[in-house]
Symmetry: C2
Subunit: 375 residues, 2 copies
Amino acid sequence: MNYSSFIPPQRTLMGPGPSDVSARVLSALARPTIGHLDPKFVTMMDEVKALLQYAFQTKNPYTIALSAPGSAGMEACFVNLVTPQDTVVVCRNGVFGARMIENVERIGAKLVVVDSPWGRAVEPQQLEDALKANPDASVVAFVHAETSTGARSDAKTLCEIAAKHDCLTIVDAVTSLGGSELKVDEWGIDAIYSGSQKCLSCVPGISPISFSEKAVEKLKGRTDKIQSWFLDQSLVMGYWSGDGKRAYHHTAPVNSLYALHESLVMLHEEGIENSWQRHHNMHNKLAEGLAALDIEFIVPENERLAQLNTIKIPAGLDDAKVRSFLLNEFNLEIGAGLGQFAGEAWRIGLMGFAARQENVTLCLAALEQAIAKCK
Amino acid sequence: MNYSSFIPPQRTLMGPGPSDVSARVLSALARPTIGHLDPKFVTMMDEVKALLQYAFQTKNPYTIALSAPGSAGMEACFVNLVTPQDTVVVCRNGVFGARMIENVERIGAKLVVVDSPWGRAVEPQQLEDALKANPDASVVAFVHAETSTGARSDAKTLCEIAAKHDCLTIVDAVTSLGGSELKVDEWGIDAIYSGSQKCLSCVPGISPISFSEKAVEKLKGRTDKIQSWFLDQSLVMGYWSGDGKRAYHHTAPVNSLYALHESLVMLHEEGIENSWQRHHNMHNKLAEGLAALDIEFIVPENERLAQLNTIKIPAGLDDAKVRSFLLNEFNLEIGAGLGQFAGEAWRIGLMGFAARQENVTLCLAALEQAIAKCK
């Protein structure tokens, strides 16, 4: 068998992630590898922490980039902050809420599920009711931006309710970080995780996380061992800590962190509010064009994510055929439906570097042709 | 605060990893990101699997690249293949054997430790004795190439002993894969993990793993849930499986896998036996030069790793001062001692692309100057 270098096509990535990665970030990615304990690298890590604090709008000292994808970030929040003695209320309105439930089950904690319909925001009153019915609840977990449905929940209100019932909050911001208003400190979020490959437009494989002081206190107060060695943040802290010597835990993904640093520098240059606004503006342009094509959204207008547009597949169109046509004719990737929406919806991402006028225009023009040709 | 792009220095990496990454691999890393379910990407994944089978010398269908560093690869082997009902014999002769023990403890399985001195190979007779004394043992775990000490254990013999006692074997090949003779099928290894950043000279962050059919059978036969969702290989299989549709589990680190593919293509071009021989040859040249400098090895000659040379810090030299001198004057990184050897040893890596004549020559010449200047 002969093998040769893999030369990928140049796609336009408008699915649920990974999103388009700019040449600037790719170029940072390819800079020479240095050691994970090199003093120059440690200096860069400090900048990554500060830039992530900016992106999350937090002063949490424990704000780091986890060396694995967003689903490992989720697991890190759960295994470090949920003990088998906890009662956890998980709000589920899509695939990623369901994955949170998997995490709670594997820890063996008591689970309370608050179900909201797919494609809708989490209903605050339902959370309030669940917490009243379960006074022993100690943790509330929900997804800010459901990547499987395109629904945005009201994180601020949900956190207020959790705080009233003295619960720690774990929030999934995989798709929201950089694309939707998100204020970790102001909203009182205790543990949050995201992914590098969505609105930060970095390569996939890294999960930014942040723990409040209350969360760090809970972790430090644990007398049992965290069930994962790799994700045990009491050990990882020794490597990311700002004070003095960095203790070896595992080898950090050096080059991916170069790329994350660059994407965060770009976000800082643009300004976080400007980035939120840009996503919003591009969403409006896309929505206008979709309306002209008679394509309907799944999520009600005031619960929609700007960066992930879930739309109904028009009647008479073959799902897979359209997506293949877009990929083969225009090198354009849009996302299939997931879970309950498989075969019924498409997910059009406008994330990070992909939230650009040229992408909106290409997508609408290509969709128009696809609709004409794939009936 | 102002932030700007991070431009790393161009180092020569001769520590315990990451090793020097070639321009060819860095260039592959920076190719345009495509979707993790893109048909072109799936084709590349199939090649990564076949190339990893070649590197591991196995026909195991379950041979994949885990989306996280080697220590997550270790944990994946343990949490998937060790149940709380198992008795696990762990051979410890350095930091990574100790980490295996951490894994067993966090699973709650019964643990038997076979200790060998730091800097020495695992003693087969001790394993044999431990298995005779613990007839309920079901798993044997050991480190092939101890990155903390530079000792190479006789994996073939250890696996033979384990097989005689009907035990599944878990082998750490983080530092050996590509650098030392390693034959997964011929030696009867059931579960093996490695890292991308050692003798494959890829960027850090990926862990190649391979499970034998016996290991897959054990995993599939489990009725309890694996304690980690992210590392649950019964779920990951759906994404890496060769048959039909790839089920979404998490977003694969697309660009890092481009780089791994390229580094494996390079290994295939060179030939695995030639790569082993090259590491051996460079080690001999380095050893010759070190002898001329009156520097002694820690590990006895027949137990030494070619790719990781642990040497005694000559009397009267300041450990940190020498390493800083090498880094600042020559952009040369060598490794500090770890654990028991901290402050007493250096670790000189000759891994993958770093196992080159020019690196050996630079290292010896720079060390000679450092010895003269840092007394």
